[in-house]
Amino acid sequence: MVEEDLPLLSVVGLTKFYGRRVGCIDVAFDLHPGEVMAVVGESGSGKSTLLSLLSTQLEPTAGSIRYRMRDGVMRDVFALTEAERRFLMRTDWGFVHQDPALGLRMAVSAGANVGERLMAVGARHYGRIRGEALSWLERVEIETDRIDDPPRAFSGGMRQRLQIARNLVTGPRLVFMDEPTGGLDVSVQARLLDLLRTLAADLDLSVVIVTHDLAVARILSHRIMVMRQGRVIETGLTDQVLDDPHEPYTQLLVSSILQV
């Protein structure tokens, strides 16, 4: 079997309860290299809980998440040591937050924001770190003469693009995104979506993107998972699900009656 056929991420029976309240129940899927999967649903559907579980910020009540490490071995992410997990999160994984203040250091320069992950894995040559930062700023369409400015001085769209560069600098294979275009103007959103789609394709990224916006899902994702009340109610290729939804709830979502 060739590597491409093997899943990068394999989720089985993933369940989270907050006391008696349901977070999500029995979620299962495989994610393959280069695959972009959107998780859609209203607030309270369990999509945010799912993302927190996948990115190991929350521990599940039941179920497992296995990830194919760079050596090809599938590992249960909750059986990793904390040091291994943190290393994974800042090298082979990325996380793009809706609020860039959660994903950036707002008071340090754009260059240092991009360079931090490199320094965290031992880069000790200032000139080379700066060179990498410059090329990533270019790649996410930030003027390179802004390299010494802090993100505080950036627009919302620029902050999001900087957050993306900061995540991608170590060449991660899996990126989680939480409403990455939320709160941005429509024209800014369009530009960001275009950039994300190009980067994901060029870098062969696997992405799990959580969004309430079906338009975002349609532009970025290959596959879609519709969640409601903690459960996955419909899943399939994005175009098929959005063009021909089977579940009545998905039909309501698509007909935009329920869209926020």
Binding site: E82, R105, V108, S109, A120, R124, I129
Partner: protein, 325 residues
Amino acid sequence: MSAVGPTSAKGAAPPHPAAPRPPSPDGRRTGGADGYNFAYLDEQTKRMIRRAILKAIAIPGYQVPFASREMPMPYGWGTGGVQITASILGPDDILKVIDQGSDDTTNAVSIRRFFEKTAGIATTTRTREATIIQTRHRIPEEPLADDQVLVYQVPTPEPLRFLEPRETETRKMHALEEYGLMHVKLYEDIARHGHIATTYDYPVKVDGRYLTAPSPTPKFDNPKMHMSPALQLFGAGREKRIYAIAPFTRVVSLDFEDHPFEVNRFERPCALCGADNVYLDEVVLDNSGGRMFVCSDTDFCQERRAAGHAGEMLARAPSFVAGQR
């Protein structure tokens, strides 16, 4: 050095802090002033602090929490250092206290008097004579010996605090040796100033493991911390932390391959004693721009002059700079 105080050296039980002070079991006086235990702190507190110190020595550079006590002086006066000194001081110790390299500032004089009064111990301004040196800002120019202890007063023990305000997170970073963030700070320095502009409290890695703050000493003194024969103890009163560098421990200043660590360089020798390669303070002489550069280590400067060395301005320096000697 008497690293262990007089009563616990004999294994005696500590007096209850609230109880009236009993006569010292070994017949030695328990203090230089009535109403205080030897060196002010009660024996139980000193033992608690000594345990923290022993742990700190065993894990060089690691910040050990301790139950910092109120001292009869403000935090800015180095209560962390004072508590360490009080805990390791024995009746035969000779104490030197420096502040910015000088024995004569209000802070240094007050702390010296405090221990003269509460412990009845001898004090000195001579680095060579001292068994314990409590310092803020400087390491003496005179190389220290293996029978000396250097006690630093530390305001900010956590070197990562600048970029990471959460204590839970910085503790985790230390535990997992995740120190990339410190290089982010040095990167910012170079991006802004073209070189690493941090000149005080320049971060070091101790024994190849713990990232450590040297306290507000100039980076000029960092190389003196490396493989020092003297025991180095650090006390932060307000932040309730003690850490240590055991004698002959590696201390490496962080840097980049293309921006290596460099000590401050001075263009001229001391104007009073002519010493080269020492840390100099600028002294303003008058309102018309007159100034001179002199040793920040006043004892070192005086000893050199007493030995016959003279800088270019020794003869015409006013007495407030040159001193009475």
